[in-house]
Amino acid sequence: MAPLQKRALYSFVIGLVLTIALIIVLVLQGDITAFGEHLRLRLFMYTVLIGVPLIYLILVNLTLRKPSQVDERDRLIIERSARAQWLAVIFSLVIWTIVLTEIYRDQGQVPIVFINLIFMSALIISPLAQSLGILVGYWNMNRNG
């Protein structure tokens, strides 16, 4: 396994575990729109919000600064993974738009708390998707060349 591939895997797994934990906590909470009223929940959310990009930064980005661990093939995979990153963010926004529109259609307005949630989800999804894109890139290159 290439050093970057290994680190992308760690970053993805840790990020995914944190994200799933956050989703479980939000679901158990019952009313997502009330998340702003609970200090512990907000702190946990901020931890995930800061944690996922930070883990990505430490594990993946710092590897890129070590020339001995990264070469042109790794850089090519990273460039391609950016496509997965923006696609995932775009799709998450599309899903948010459709779901919120359908749920709050009758009320004619969406609770303002969702602005935070949409923004946070984009910040969490972005590094997660890039880690996944790197892993898929290696898998694809090893398979098809």
């Binding site: 290439a2 661990q69 070469d71 042109e72 093939r73 790794d74 290159m141």
Partner: protein
């Protein structure tokens, strides 16, 4: 179908069984890239191709061959 083939595995053997790690170090790439090259799953940039050829003390065409069918 066009294809770039290489003789890296053979040349490593001819150079006292040079390890992939050693070649990677000389050529300035990772061992995984050398593995991918030997398996024909990656075509290097011109720059890396020259560095690999230089690591063997060979010309570019002694290491890489372009096949056009």
């Amino acid at each position: 179908m066009d294809r770039v083939r290489n003789r890296i595995r053979r040349l490593r053997f001819d150079h006292d069984e040079m390890t992939q790690e050693e070649l990677a170090s000389r050529a300035g790439c990772t061992r995984q890239t050398i593995i991918a090259l030997e398996q024909g799953k990656y075509v290097p940039s011109i720059e890396l191709a020259f560095r690999i050829a230089r690591a063997f003390g060979a010309s570019l065409e002694e290491v890489f061959q372009y096949e056009h069918r």
